[in-house]
């Protein structure tokens, strides 16, 4: 039996070996993708294009502009004419040649009034074509204006004293709020899954498309043997990807491994086995590779949506939160982040391991059932 | 000027296989030319070179006066090509497949309808208009591809094993179609592994390991066989022993078993006494022995064997 299983698996490995491009993509695709993602998302948002019009022109307003210039978040241009009524002209580049994200208007008499403690008003226009850039710029601008304003208006209050007025914030697990530390584990969990289901789905779909599946059916194999034989390449490739990606996450993007590495390795393998069933299900409902790839895309998108991959699940509507529990990737991402960043073990993660086990039984059971049925109908 | 002309045509593949090795060939207008040869002889490669869908690594080929490299697209306008595998779309119906080819060749309206009806009738596919290509039987698929290749009334037809995997009845129908085209003046080059089909051609070339070993009319080819062909009948159980015994006989060029008879190519009829003696020595009873006219198959197998040794 083992022999026959390995025989089936061997054929697929040969197929990969003869198809070097494919081999390279499915082996290195995950790590490459992950590196790109980490680099793209890890960069800080800085040099936000900012135009400031200073109607005051006082020492104080000039100093305030200097504060903005000194801050990395902003790349400041000082306008030599007043901001137009229609801010579109600034945000589209029609007026000052660049499409600015921030426009700040400092009114006449600003310095005088600030010194006198009369709360002069500064207007900030945000171009929210990108909400993230606008929010980041707004937060930074508020901070600069507050501390600089206090410095001028309340000369007897020191910065330390002002800061003591604020609650103390401790960030755990990802102390620097580094976005790459968030996106790279997400991507690893996701790619591990996509590679595994993709390899399983495309390989089976290819055989169906070219009729070599029929050959498989006339061989004296038990359906289980065929399924396991077909599973081996997908598991091996998915897992190889995971190991590579883990290396990239840890060594290139500095995500710590605070918990038990062996535990993580075991659970990752377990997770691939669970998701494999999804690959088989997709392959069994598609007749051609074209269908298979479209289905893989659709399923990948849905999974991403429910996984907590990009947005915290807690913020979703309650119904969606409940549905999300049915997606294995949701549980795996919690396990992955838990072991990597929080350093927790089974004592805390066990509910998610149990959930994975239950989903795995369900999905793989369904795949086996469907497989048997399609065998019966094709035989 | 011949319709198809090649000179020292060579095709070498990466890895060193020389599929076509210095082919010189001339096919006249209106000829029905057969290329026969075992698997891997280079038949498909030859046709692909003629169809201008593969570049030769040496030599030249012209089809209908156009160079297959420099004027590949002009060649393609003149030919109808039928690849060895089903070359049409399995998900499209018979009619859609033909419509597609009409689209390509710009056949419109009434003319298109007439041509499609005519070809469907010709191929006996009129009842299967709506059936998908992939659901046709092997023979019908072949006829469909032939019909598609004929849409634009090509002057040259290049057919690669058009009857392989087709039942005998459909094969006969197919050849009737070819005869009709042939009498209509179309130049046809057909590759086939079947020797009986080769007999239907005006001229036949035998390809082996990339070379055309001989090339002549079927009758002339059969005359090339030296000596005589003798049909030997022995009891069925003794067939294998008899075959081996006869092979060892001096003066025997080739031995082939056909059902209950053994065909023997011998240098002359005077071999008879020795033959009887050998069989008697093996304890095999000779039921019948008589000379028969040579067949194409025997001629070719003999030529290939004598070349191999």
């Amino acid at each position: 039996m083992l022999n026959r299983i390995l025989n089936i698996a061997w054929k697929d490995f040969l197929h990969l070996w003869h198809n070097k491009i494919l081999l390279v993509i499915v082996l290195l695709g995950g790590a490459t993708e992950l590196t790109l993602v980490g680099m793209a998302t890890g960069a800080p948002i800085d040099d936000v294009r900012t135009v400031i019009y200073d109607a005051d022109g006082s020492q104080i307003s000039r100093e305030m502009i200097a504060r903005f210039e000194a801050d990395e978040t902003f790349a400041v241009t000082v306008a030599d004419e007043p901001l137009p009524d229609d801010l579109n002209e600034i945000f589209t580049g029609a007026l000052f040649g660049d499409d600015y994200i921030v426009a700040i208007d400092i009114p006449e008499g600003f310095g005088e009034e600030l010194r006198a403690g009369r709360r002069p008003e500064v207007t900030i226009h945000l171009n929210a074509i990108s909400a993230l850039a606008a929010t980041t710029a707004r937060r930074k601008a508020e901070e600069i204006l507050f501390y600089y304003g206090a410095e001028v208006a309340w000369p007897d209050v020191s910065r330390d004293e002002l800061e003591a007025f604020e609650p103390q914030i401790t960030v755990r697990y990802n102390e620097e709020l580094d976005r790459a530390q968030y996106t790279t584990p997400s991507e690893a969990g996701f790619m591990l899954y996509v590679i595994a289901i993709g390899v399983a789905a495309f390989m089976l779909a290819r055989e169906r498309e070219f009729g070599s599946f029929e050959q498989l059916l006339v061989m004296p194999h038990h359906p289980m043997e065929i399924l396991i034989g077909k599973a081996i390449p997908a598991v091996v490739l998915g897992y190889a990807n995971f190991l590579l990606m883990l290396g990239v996450i840890h060594f290139i993007f500095g995500v710590p491994i605070r918990g038990s590495l062996p535990l993580l390795l075991v659970l990752a393998l377990f997770y691939v086995l669970v998701e494999l069933g999804v690959g088989f299900l997709l392959a069994l409902v598609s007749r051609t590779q074209h269908q298979a790839v479209l289905l893989v895309m659709l399923v990948a998108f849905v999974d991403v949506a429910f996984s907590g991959y990009a947005a915290p699940v807690e913020s979703m509507p309650p119904a969606m939160q409940t549905i999300s529990l049915a997606f294995p990737i949701r549980h795996f991402l919690i396990i992955l982040r838990g072991v990597l960043q929080k350093g927790v073990g089974l004592e805390i993660l066990w509910p998610h391991v149990l959930a994975l086990a239950a989903l795995g039984l369900l999905i793989n059971g369904a795949a086996l059932l469907l497989f048997r049925r399609s065998l019966a109908s094709e035989r | 000027m011949s319709m198809i002309h090649t000179e020292a045509l060579v095709r070498r593949f990466r890895g060193g296989v020389i599929a076509v090795d210095g082919l010189d060939l001339d096919v006249e207008e209106g000829e029905l030319f057969g290329i026969v040869g075992p698997d891997g002889a280079g038949k498909t490669t030859t046709l692909r070179l003629l169809a201008a869908i593969m570049k030769p690594t040496g030599g030249i080929a012209t089809v209908a006066g156009y160079d297959t490299v420099r004027e590949a697209e002009a060649v393609k306008r003149e030919i109808g090509y039928m690849p060895q595998q089903f070359g049409l779309y399995p998900d499209l119906s018979v009619e859609e497949n033909l419509n597609f080819v009409c689209d390509i060749f710009g056949l419109e309206g009434e003319e298109r309808r007439r041509r499609i009806d005519e070809l469907l009738g010709f191929a006996g596919l009129s009842e299967f208009r709506k059936r998908r290509g992939g659901h046709l039987s092997g023979g019908m698929q072949k006829k469909l591809v032939l019909a598609s290749a004929l849409i634009h009334k090509p002057r040259v037809l290049l057919l690669d094993e058009p009857t392989t995997g087709v039942d005998p009845v459909a094969r006969r129908q197919f050849w009737e179609m070819l005869s009709e085209l042939h009498s209509g003046g179309t130049t046809i080059v057909v590759c086939t592994p079947y020797m009986d089909e080769a007999e239907r051609c005006n001229r036949v070339g035998l390809m082996y390991e990339g070379r055309m070993i001989v090339c002549d009319t079927p009758a002339a080819l059969k005359r090339m066989l030296p000596g005589v062909v003798l049909a030997v009948s022995v009891p069925p159980r003794a067939m294998i022993d008899a075959e081996q015994a006869l092979r060892r006989l001096p003066g025997v060029l080739d031995v082939q078993a056909y059902g209950d008879r053994i065909h023997l190519i011998a240098s002359g009829p005077e071999i008879r006494p020795e033959l009887e003696a050998v069989l008697a020595a093996e304890g095999i009873k000779l039921l019948d022995l008589r000379p028969v006219p040579p067949r194409m198959e025997e001629a070719f197998i003999y030529m290939i064997r004598s070349r191999g040794s």
């Binding site: 993602v37 945000l126 990108s130 993709g198 269908q291 289905l295 | 690849p83 998900d91």
Partner: protein
């Protein structure tokens, strides 16, 4: 020459028609390419574009006073934070955060209530104390927050909310105390100063244009429209490889159909499908998600069709240079889909980068599509603003099509 051109056009339509038959013949694929993008748009937008809200928050209240309860209620009343329970000690907080039951913990130490003077007795002393409250000095505020940083974007929003609410809480309480002073005292310079310091020194008016509530949804939907439009490119990536795999390419290349015609003919139906998708997704964006559409719809559809063409040209190129379907599919999947997510602007806003870097990023056409889609949706601008991205798309599309024609040999390998 003229007949040559008309041949190419005829061949293009012949191939396009055949391709449409293929698509219609395969209902699963037809459904997936026809409606897959809009389905994905809706799912993704629903799931991703939820604004950060109801972040589970745990309370460790050691002060147990009216003030601490008031602060907790205040936090719970926000959209962003959701108080889910209380812990008895720090180890309870640790456990809840480790298990991801809570993503924020607010710890209120003893002394919060005590910071505020009792509203009785020594009134001037009270003012002095209030003034000192604004400068709690070395004692520090007895309120601290512990935030789970594993999801930095929502963590940042939670932190901003925590700080704002805490400040507002302090300011409101202090102001209430000042209001209790008799009117005779309201004009005292100490009182004035105390009031002054309860406000920020500069009054700030923030006007957010295009997306006044800074909603991720508005940002995301136009971007996703461009991203999911890569799906037809996935289909095109299979077309040549599929003909090669199934052996029909041999018949096709032996016909006089022109190379350019074969390639554009294969793209054409998918451009049409792309346009259909754009219209559907436009309806979903406006109808389901309530986005404004401020640009010119006709221009939008035209530019998105151009964008689709650029993506298809890349998919086609993969299909030609990669020897079989399976590998071509993987390459295009890796190339389009996954990087696409990160251009959605949720993680990194390309628009905020300097122009040269933006141009570089946009040689990846999905970035260009995202930029154009957002600009037309939210800003309502026209070609005068997005022309350079359009230029890059045309350039990329033309180069890829030219390379495809160059590499597509009407020959068998």
């Amino acid at each position: 020459m003229r007949t040559h051109a008309s041949n190419i056009i005829r061949h293009t339509f012949a191939i396009a028609r055949k391709e449409i038959w293929h698509i219609i013949r395969d209902p699963i694929s037809l459904f997936l390419v026809g409606f897959g993008p809009v389905i994905m748009l809706i799912i993704i937008s629903y799931a991703f574009a939820v604004e950060v809200r109801d972040v589970p928050t745990l309370v460790l209240d050691l002060d147990r006073t009216e003030a601490s309860r008031e602060l907790i209620e205040r936090l719970d009343a926000t959209e962003v934070l959701d108080v889910i329970g209380t812990a008895d000690d720090m180890s309870g907080v640790e456990r809840a955060m480790d298990a991801r039951m809570a993503r924020v913990a607010v710890v209120i130490d003893r002394g919060l209530e005590a910071m505020f003077p009792a509203p009785s007795g020594d009134l001037l002393g009270m003012v002095a104390q209030l003034a000192a409250l604004a400068q709690v000095g070395d004692r520090g505020l007895p309120v601290s927050y512990i935030v789970d940083g594993t999801e930095p974007i929502s963590a940042e929003t939670a932190i901003e909310t925590a700080i704002k609410e805490t400040n507002a809480f302090l300011v409101e309480r202090a102001r209430a105390l000042l209001d209790m002073l008799p009117s005779s005292m309201q004009n005292l310079p100490e009182v004035q100063r105390a009031r002054e310091q309860l406000e920020t020194p500069i009054a700030l008016e923030v006007i957010t244009h295009y997306n006044p509530e800074e909603k991720t949804l508005w940002d995301l939907v136009p971007a996703m429209i461009a991203i999911v439009l890569t799906m037809p490119a996935m289909s095109v990536a299979t077309v040549i490889a599929k003909e090669r795999d199934q052996g029909t390419l041999e018949f096709l290349v032996a016909t006089p159909a022109a190379r350019l015609a074969i390639l554009t003919g294969k793209m054409l139906p998918y451009v049409l499908i792309g346009v259909f998708n754009v219209l559907l997704m436009y309806l979903a964006a406006v109808g389901v998600f309530g986005l404004p559409f401020r640009g010119n719809l006709l221009l939008y559809v035209a530019l998105m069709a151009l964008y689709e063409f650029a993506c298809l040209a890349i998919g086609l190129f993969f299909s030609i240079v990669i020897p079989n379907q399976e590998a071509a599919l993987w390459v295009s999947l890796m190339f389009f889909l996954f990087p696409g997510f990160f251009l959605s602007g949720m993680f990194f806003p390309i628009v905020a980068m300097p122009l040269e870097m933006r141009m570089e990023a946009m040689s990846f056409p999905v970035s260009g599509g995202v930029f154009i889609s957002r600009s037309l949706f939210l800003q309502g601008v026209g070609l005068d603003v997005v022309w350079w991205a359009v230029g890059i798309l045309i350039y990329v599309g033309a180069i890829m099509l030219a390379l495809s024609v160059l590499f597509f040999k009407k020959r068998i390998a």
